[in-house]
Each structure stands twice: as C-alpha cells, then as structure tokens.
Symmetry: C2
Subunit: 99 residues, 2 copies
C-alpha cells in the first residue's frame, strides 16, 4: 500500500489559533491514531490565525478509518467552533528521510 500524506491548513477565528492548537495538542488523541506516522502542527509565521498540519499515514485507508474513530470525531467536534476555514495542498508523498 502507498503511504498517504496531507498538508492541512486550518484558519482559526481571529485570535483563536493558540486556543485551537492547545486543544488539539492536549488530547492524547493525536498520539493514539493508528497507522499515523506523524501529525505535526505548525504555526504560520506570516498569518496569526493559520495552523499548518503535515500528516503522513501508512495508507489512505488507515487515514480514512481514523476519521471514523470516536476519539478523533470527539476532538474534531470540540475544536470546530474555533475554526473559520479548512484548506490545504493535495500531495503524494514519494520518499526521503523518515518516509
């Protein structure tokens, strides 16, 4: 199976980025996601409301399954009121260190 990657862009409501990041990082949910190689949050330096997330998964299937996980759904639901927009870049991971 091919590995699966995403670059997600979360735009918080104005001034809410820190609260959103804290809520996402405090939960054990991110560390417990099965088949997830990494899921790392970054603050955009040039936009105070943007978080970029890089994700690498063992396959597209395990990523899709994660979205049905009860803890992941609960976390998404809890964060939703802080999020103004969801976007990203569609990518296919092809190799490198840590792949």
């Amino acid at each position: 199976m091919s590995k699966y990657a995403m670059f997600g862009k979360l735009t918080s409501h104005p001034g809410k980025r820190e609260e959103l990041a804290k809520m996402m990082l405090e939960a054990d949910t991110l560390n417990d996601m099965e088949g997830c190689i990494y899921y790392i949050l970054h603050e955009a330096e040039e936009d105070p409301d943007v978080l970029w997330i890089t994700e690498l998964w063992e396959s597209q299937e395990v990523h899709a399954a994660s979205l049905k996980n009860e803890n992941v759904r609960e976390l998404i639901g809890r964060c939703r009121h802080l999020i103004a927009d969801v976007g990203g870049v569609k990518v296919r991971p092809i190799g490198g260190k840590g792949f």
Copy 2:
C-alpha cells in the same frame, strides 16, 4: 533548543519534476543529514511541476549547518539546472505525533 521546520516548494522546469525528484532521492545525502528528523518529498497533485518538501530539524542551527555540508552543496549544485523556482511557507513547528 527549539525544533525547526520548513515547507519548501520547488518548481521544476516544465516536465522535469520526475527527474528532479529522482536525483534528490537517489543520493544518500538526504538520509545522512545530521540533526534532520525528516525530509520528505511530495508531488503536488494539482501542479505537474511542483514538489513540496516537509522538513523537521532538531534546531535551526543544525539546519543552517547542513547547508554548509559538502554533500548537500554538491546535491544542490547537481539539481540546480532542473529548478525554475524556489518558494515555500514559513512555519514554526509546535507539537503533535512524531514531533
């Protein structure tokens, strides 16, 4: 020391993305970079000439040092004629799985 991340965007000359990626991945250079936690190449799905690179380093200092490494400089020099543009997104990594 704080970890250091980059999202790099390499645009190849038209039709040269595959050759560029192959050249970068074939060298052992990427795997040998000291202080590099990951350095992963991705093809943009929606632009046939774009590679996105996600990098995570132990610190900004080790990343800066890598650019002085002889093998890294040799690889950059060898790839340069295939690259039309270099860009990216400035980010600060803050946490998550694999951080």
